[in-house]
Every structure is written in structure tokens, then in C-alpha cells.
């Protein structure tokens, strides 16, 4: 097989960091090639070089044997490389079809030919099994549908080289199956596909070859996946054996109810949601993206409102009009799944990000906030959570993803909440830090906090939760008592989901 894409000795430095330090990468026609690595290993830099966003400082990139220098994204597209990027890259007010065709809108007499736009887009929607009208505005779609539009947008170019950066992050298992079928079909037709994912299960299910990066270098280079196993891949990624989170036993008082929902309906559209969360317990909320889990959390916090049923906090009926009340009266905290948009203030420093929940409490007369007091309140938490930061003055935006997540946990520890809602705590976080965070959450529960864990990461759920509520369509589909056996638990959970899909 011929190499359609070849990277030799790529180097790329950013001020202060050497992101790529002599990386090789070879992609052949007719293969699906997994590109793996921890955050900061250089994956995204390599992808950005291949899509024309960055230029390498040194080394060469060859496409179909020709040395290329991409000045911008357009140049990469023209060279025959198309990509599904990790970030959302759709124009919300434009139609599905126009988004898909945006790189190359068909024209007639200088005007966009919308009939043709819709016709071509529809072909790909059908192949992906996405049943939405091509004229529909993207902003009215669900997250999973948007992800599929994103994929269609990359496929429509019919490029010989396809880069897919975490394409399955927010789509359902069924949609994932359809996508994988399609990718295999494209591969068999001779396309070369790069597949980036944190879900090793998917990598082993789909890919033929793997390249792992670590610290800007090749940990391995184009190894056939048939020849190695999961443990070996993980070792390539983190440089040693995977450390299993040390979670001891965690008895909790079954009588101390922290939060109770009875037949709750919300302005987001939840109906008949009941649950009970005890102090010291980790209650999992499992469900696919769009099941209504984060929305439930937000309704409890007062971002939306509870329109029916009864909410009790620590045994007393609670009405929560806004987040301030949730935090200061009922001591409920929420670690958002979207760190950048909802969790952290990236342009502010560590001290401010952690202190934000307790400024009111620390303030003296006339709201006076002595710097020393904030520092004394914040510094122990930074130590306790082992946030790696040069100082409390460091901008949070300059920290790594894992450390950012620790900061957002720290701010709720500072607030001394009793009930902590943790939403997708380890999305986009590398394996090392992930283990730390699991231990941290476990420890928090052990210290007596009631934790509502929202996660789409089944292994995480099975490892951490005491009980798992399965959600779908803004309702509770069922409950599973966790015995920490992955196989049994995942079957039980999926059974609830399939039952609901069938009904």
C-alpha cells in the first residue's frame, strides 16, 4: 500500500513549549489509523499541521508523495485533506445542507444553487442515517445530530485523506455503529482515515494501525493493532503501566438523606423524576448526550425552574430560585461539564477562580476583601488537590486541562458545599489526572459529601458510583445497584436504554 500522507521529523515550538519534537507519521491508503496520546502529547498540534492551521518549524509533510506547505486551512482542503475537528464548527443559523456544503457551495450564474446544495447534502445525510431535513437550521438540532452534520461536512469533500478528531464524543452507540460502518466502507474504497479518540474500546473496534505520541515524540509508529493489546497501548501513552485508582471501602449512612426529588417536573421538560441522594453516597446519572442530565442539575440549581413535584434538601422542602440561593442556603455546588464556557474564568487567576464562591463570606465591612484572607482560604485547597500552578496569580487559561478541572473542583470545596453535582468530570482529561480525580471524588464522598455524578463514561461510572440511575428523554429509565463489575453493569444499563428505545 502506498503512503498517501507522510510526516517526517516534524518539529513545532510554541513560546516556552516544544509541542512536537521530531514526530514521524505515515498514513496509507485503505487504512484506518488511530492517533493516540495524552493531552499535551502533541496530537492536536500534529492535526493542526495537517489541516493547515499551523506550519511546522522543521520537518516535512508529503501528501501523495509531494512535499506540501499549507498556508491556511483552505490549502489543506485543496490538497485533499478533510477533517472533523474536535470543536464545534457549525454556523448555527445556517441550514444543515449549507453547513455541510460550506467549503464548496455549488453555484449557478454566480448565485448559490440551493436546490443543488440540498440535493448533495441529502445524499450524505442518508448515508449517515441522519433523518433531518437538509433545510433545517443547525441550531435547532440536538448535540448528537450536530456532531453527525459535522461528520457529513468532512465526508462530503470525498477527500482521500480524512482526519477525525474525537468524532464520537457526543453521539449514541447506535449512531457510532452506523458511522463506523461507513468509515469501513470508505476505507475499503481506498480512503485513508486518521482516527483520534480517548475511547480505546472504539480504537480497537475500528482501527487497523496505531501511532502513539508522548511528550511530542513518537511512543510508537504505525504499529498494526492486531499485534498489540490495550495494556501496551496505554503503556505507550503514559509511559508506564496504567495506575488503577485506589478506592477503598466507603460506607455511608443510609438514613441521612441529603437530596430528595419526588416526581419532579422542570421547565426544561423533565417529568416524573424521583431520586434520593444520601450523605457520603455517589449517585450516578448515566445517559446519552441529550438525556437531560445536565439540565436536571441546572434546574435544581435554579438556572431553570422546577415546575412540579417536590424537592427536599436535608429533609426540608426547598425552593431554589437561583444559583446564589442554591449555593448559600442549600449548599449545592455544580462542576460544569463545559469548563471553558461555564466552569472557569480563563482570563482570571487561580485565586479568583477558587475564591469566587466564598468572596461574600470572606468579605469584611463594606465588602472589603483582604488579599491575605483570600490567599489563606485558597492556598490549602491548591495544595490538597495538588494543582500544579506556578502561583495563585497564574491565569487559569494557562494551566493544563487536568489542573483546570482541579481548580473547578477546588472552588466548590472552598464553598464547603454538602451536595456536589459533578458533570462529566473527566472529559478531555488524560489518564493520569483522570485517576487522581476519581480518587478525589471518592474521597469527597467518603468525607460525607453527597455526590451526584453525571457521566457518559461507562467505566468511570462503574468504578465510582454506588447506585446508577439511567436517564433518557428527560426521565429516569431505571436504577442499577452498582457491584463494580463492568460487564454486568454495562449490560444492565444498556438494557434500560434499549427497553426505553423499544417502547
Amino acid at each position: 500500500m502506498t503512503a498517501v500522507l507522510e510526516v517526517r521529523g516534524a518539529e513545532k515550538s510554541f513560546p516556552g513549549v516544544k509541542a512536537l519534537d521530531g514526530v514521524d507519521f505515515v498514513l496509507r491508503a485503505g487504512e484506518i489509523h488511530a492517533l493516540l496520546g495524552e493531552n499535551g502529547a502533541g496530537k492536536s498540534t500534529l492535526i493542526k499541521i495537517l489541516t493547515g492551521i499551523h506550519e511546522p518549524d522543521r520537518g516535512e509533510v508529503r501528501v501523495f508523495g509531494q512535499a506540501v506547505h499549507f498556508a491556511n486551512a483552505r490549502a489543506a482542503i485543496e490538497a485533499g485533506i478533510s477533517a472533523v475537528h474536535q470543536e464545534r464548527n457549525l454556523i448555527p443559523r445556517m441550514s444543515v445542507a449549507e453547513n455541510i456544503m460550506l467549503e464548496n457551495l455549488p453555484q449557478r450564474l454566480g448565485f448559490v444553487d440551493y436546490a443543488e446544495v440540498n440535493r448533495q447534502a441529502l445524499l450524505w445525510l442518508e448515508r449517515l442515517g441522519l433523518e433531518v431535513a437538509p433545510e433545517r437550521a443547525v441550531r435547532t438540532l440536538s448535540v448528537a445530530q450536530m456532531q453527525l452534520v459535522e461528520i457529513a461536512k468532512a465526508l462530503v469533500l470525498e477527500a482521500k485523506i480524512l482526519l477525525m478528531d474525537e468524532p464520537t464524543a457526543s453521539i449514541t452507540p447506535h449512531e457510532t455503529d452506523v458511522l463506523f460502518g461507513l468509515l469501513r466502507q470508505l476505507r475499503d474504497q481506498g480512503a485513508a482515515i486518521v482516527f483520534v479518540s480517548h475511547k480505546l474500546e472504539e480504537v480497537f473496534a475500528l482501527c487497523d494501525t496505531v501511532t502513539v505520541l508522548r511528550d511530542g515524540r513518537n511512543a510508537c509508529h504505525a504499529v498494526p493493532l492486531a499485534e498489540i493489546d490495550r495494556a501496551a497501548v496505554v503503556k505507550f501513552m503514559i509511559g508506564r503501566e496504567e495506575r488503577v485508582a485506589k478506592l477503598g471501602t466507603k460506607p455511608f449512612d443510609a438514613t441521612a438523606t441529603a437530596l430528595r426529588l419526588e416526581d419532579v417536573a422542570t421547565s426544561f421538560g423533565h417529568a416524573g423524576v424521583s431520586l434520593e441522594l444520601r450523605r457520603g453516597e455517589i449517585l450516578g446519572l448515566y445517559g446519552l448526550v441529550g438525556a437531560g442530565r445536565s439540565e436536571l442539575a441546572k434546574a435544581l440549581l435554579g438556572v431553570g425552574h422546577v415546575t412540579g413535584g417536590r424537592v427536599e434538601v436535608a429533609g426540608k422542602e426547598a425552593s431554589i430560585p437561583d444559583v446564589t440561593t442554591a449555593l448559600h442556603r442549600y449548599r449545592i455546588g455544580y462542576i460544569s461539564e463545559d469548563r471553558k464556557a461555564e466552569g472557569l474564568i480563563l482570563i482570571h487567576d487561580v485565586a479568583s477562580n477558587i475564591g469566587v464562591t466564598i468572596w461574600r463570606r470572606l468579605a469584611g465591612m463594606l465588602g472589603w476583601l483582604a488579599e491575605g484572607r483570600v490567599r489563606r482560604a485558597v492556598a490549602p485547597l491548591v495544595d490538597k488537590l495538588q494543582v500544579r500552578t506556578p502561583s495563585l496569580r497564574q491565569r487559569v487559561g494557562n494551566l493544563s486541562g487536568g489542573n483546570q478541572q482541579k481548580v473547578s473542583v477546588a472552588k466548590w470545596l472552598a464553598a464547603e458545599v454538602d451536595i456536589l453535582i459533578v458533570d462529566e468530570p473527566t472529559v478531555g482529561i488524560d489518564i493520569k489526572t483522570k485517576t487522581d480525580l476519581h480518587e478525589l471524588i471518592w474521597q469527597l464522598a467518603k468525607d460525607g459529601k453527597a455526590i451526584l455524578l453525571i457521566s457518559s463514561d461507562m467505566p468511570e461510572m462503574v468504578a465510582l458510583a454506588d447506585r446508577i440511575l439511567v436517564m433518557g428523554g428527560f426521565r429516569v429509565l431505571g436504577e442499577v445497584l452498582n457491584d463494580h463489575d463492568y460487564g454486568r453493569m454495562s449490560r444492565a444499563i444498556m438494557a434500560h436504554i434499549h427497553e426505553a428505545e423499544a417502547a
Partner: protein, 314 residues
């Protein structure tokens, strides 16, 4: 700070080319304009940190001053309570802006675009556009206050306000909350901050500061004039935006530089004054002002980029 350096260079150039620049008379009038422009700049700055804008600074300033003038001249209210009334009235108008912004849920640009007309129009209706020119001597004397023979009282006044603002935004919970909400509204909301309130407070502060700037200008003019900020208060907009923007306050919110705003105002006043002194053809002054401002903005940007590079390398 790059601006401080730029200011030193400009002063050196102007003082060398025209000794009149450094004369006590000129320094006095320069520091007086500087002080007023600083407070106008602060007035815009406190709204910029929320990621909003306040186009009505001029309208509020004039409306509040007319209230103060009416209180002093017609009602015989003593100077200090009358000034407090004017500031409170300005804050009230700002509060209206804040409430409208939060309630309607549109950008404050649009809200204040409408209210700048409304406040100014109401002021004209109520005053019949007549000025108050028999203000108490104690008030008018504030405009003539002079220290060491060449510093107008306006400058220390503005600096005191600046120190107050710096403390407010760096050392009080409310100030920090405004900054947090300005940087990331949703994150602040989910951290238990009443974000709507921070926006309303920022607008009210902006109104109060605009009123204060108006009072300073009224003291300088010796009268409360409906015309002092131009048609619907438009002539304040340039100094209002230039000072914070040159000083590094982000239009997207969340970052504040009180010192920068003060230096920005100082630089604009010095450039304007210096250009007048240089006797470039007077009709061309405005163009040179624009060019120098553009150069300053670009230079500052370049400096920022370089500093960022250096910082990252370290």
C-alpha cells in the same frame, strides 16, 4: 507600562519643541482637562468590564449636572449635598440602563443608544435647555482649585476616584464579582453570583461617575450647561472610549485597568494639547490626532504581543 513610557516621550518632545507646553498656565489647564477626561473614561470603563457599553455617559452627565445646578441655584441646596444629589441622580439613570439591559435581554449598546436620546430629551424638556449660571461661588471655585501653582484640583480628584475604583475592583467582593461576571457570565452565574445585579451595579456606577465628571466640568465652566457634552452627549464618547481602550481594558469584559485608563486619558489630553501647541494647521489637528491614536493603539498592541512572547519564553 508602555503607556507611561509613551507619555514621558511625548511630554519630552512637546516640552522641547514648545516651551509654552511646560508653562504653569498650560500645565494647569492640561491637568484640569486630564482629570475630567479620566473620570469620563472611568465612567465607561466600569461598564466595559461587564462586556457592555454605555453610550449614554454624556447624556447622564449633563442630566445629572442640571439636577445639581437646579438644586444649588433654584432650591438653594448647599454645595456638597447638591453634588451628592447629582451623583445619586446619575447613578439612578445608570441603574435604569442596567435594569433595561437585564430585563430586555439585549446588548447594552442598544439600550443606551435609546436612553442617550431619552435622558437628554427629558433634560431638555425639563430645563427648556436653559443653563444655570449663578452657581454658588464655593462650587465654581472647585474648578479653579490649584496646587503647587500648576496642578488643577481636578487631577487629584480624578486620581482619588481612581484609587477608589482600584480598591473596589481588587479588594471588595462586589467588585470581584463584577469582574467575574464580565469575564464569563455563565461561569459566574453557576458560581452563585447574582450576575444581573453585577450588571445593574456597574451601570449605576457608570452613571454616578458620569455625573461626577459632569460636576467637574460644570465647576470648570462655572455653570451647569445643557450643551456641555454636545448634542445628546455625543462629544463625551471619544474620550470615554479612548481612555479605557488605550489603557488595556478589554471591550469583551472581565479585565480592568484603572491605572491604564488614567494613563490613557492622560495620553490623549497630552497629545491633543501638544498638537495644538505645535501649530500644525489647525484644520489638520483632528487628522493628526486620529493618526497618533491609531499609532498608539497599534504600538501598544505590538508591545503586548512582544511582552506575551517574552513571558511565555520564561
Amino acid at each position: 507600562m508602555g503607556l507611561a513610557l509613551l507619555i514621558v516621550v511625548l511630554v519630552a518632545i512637546f516640552a522641547t519643541v514648545n516651551p509654552g507646553f511646560a508653562s504653569p498656565f498650560n500645565l494647569f489647564s492640561l491637568t484640569r482637562v486630564m482629570g475630567i477626561d479620566m473620570v469620563i473614561g472611568f465612567s465607561m470603563m466600569v461598564v466595559l468590564v461587564t462586556g457592555g457599553l454605555n453610550l449614554a455617559v454624556g447624556s447622564i452627565g449633563v442630566a445629572a449636572v442640571m439636577v445639581g445646578g437646579w438644586a444649588m441655584q433654584v432650591q438653594g441646596v448647599p454645595v456638597l449635598p447638591a453634588m451628592a444629589m447629582a451623583v445619586a441622580f446619575g447613578a439612578f439613570l445608570g441603574w435604569i440602563n442596567g435594569q433595561l439591559t437585564v430585563r430586555i435581554g439585549v446588548h447594552s449598546f442598544i439600550v443606551t443608544l435609546a436612553t442617550m436620546s431619552i435622558f437628554f430629551g427629558a433634560m431638555i424638556v425639563l430645563t427648556k435647555a436653559e443653563s444655570f449660571n449663578a452657581l454658588p461661588g464655593a462650587f465654581v471655585d472647585l474648578g479653579r482649585l490649584r496646587y503647587w501653582g500648576f496642578v488643577s484640583g481636578m487631577l487629584p480628584a480624578a486620581l482619588i476616584v481612581g484609587v477608589g475604583l482600584w480598591l473596589f475592583f481588587n479588594r471588595t467582593s462586589l467588585g470581584r464579582e463584577i469582574l467575574a461576571a464580565g469575564a464569563n457570565l455563565e461561569a459566574a452565574r453557576l458560581s452563585g453570583i447574582r450576575v444581573e445585579r453585577t450588571i445593574v451595579v456597574a451601570h449605576a456606577m457608570s452613571g454616578g461617575l458620569a455625573a461626577l465628571a459632569g460636576l467637574m466640568l460644570a465647576a470648570r465652566n462655572g455653570a451647569a450647561l445643557p450643551s456641555m457634552a454636545g448634542h445628546i452627549g455625543m462629544s463625551w464618547l471619544l474620550p470615554a472610549f479612548l481612555a479605557p481602550v488605550l489603557g488595556g481594558t478589554l471591550l469583551t469584559g472581565g479585565v480592568i485597568s484603572v491605572v491604564g485608563t488614567a494613563l490613557g486619558a492622560a495620553m490623549v489630553t497630552i497629545i491633543t494639547n501638544g498638537l495644538l501647541q505645535l501649530q500644525v494647521g489647525e484644520f489638520w489637528v483632528q487628522m493628526f490626532l486620529g493618526l497618533i491614536l491609531l499609532a498608539a493603539v497599534l504600538l501598544d498592541r505590538l508591545r503586548g504581543v512582544m511582552a506575551e512572547r517574552r513571558r511565555q519564553v520564561r
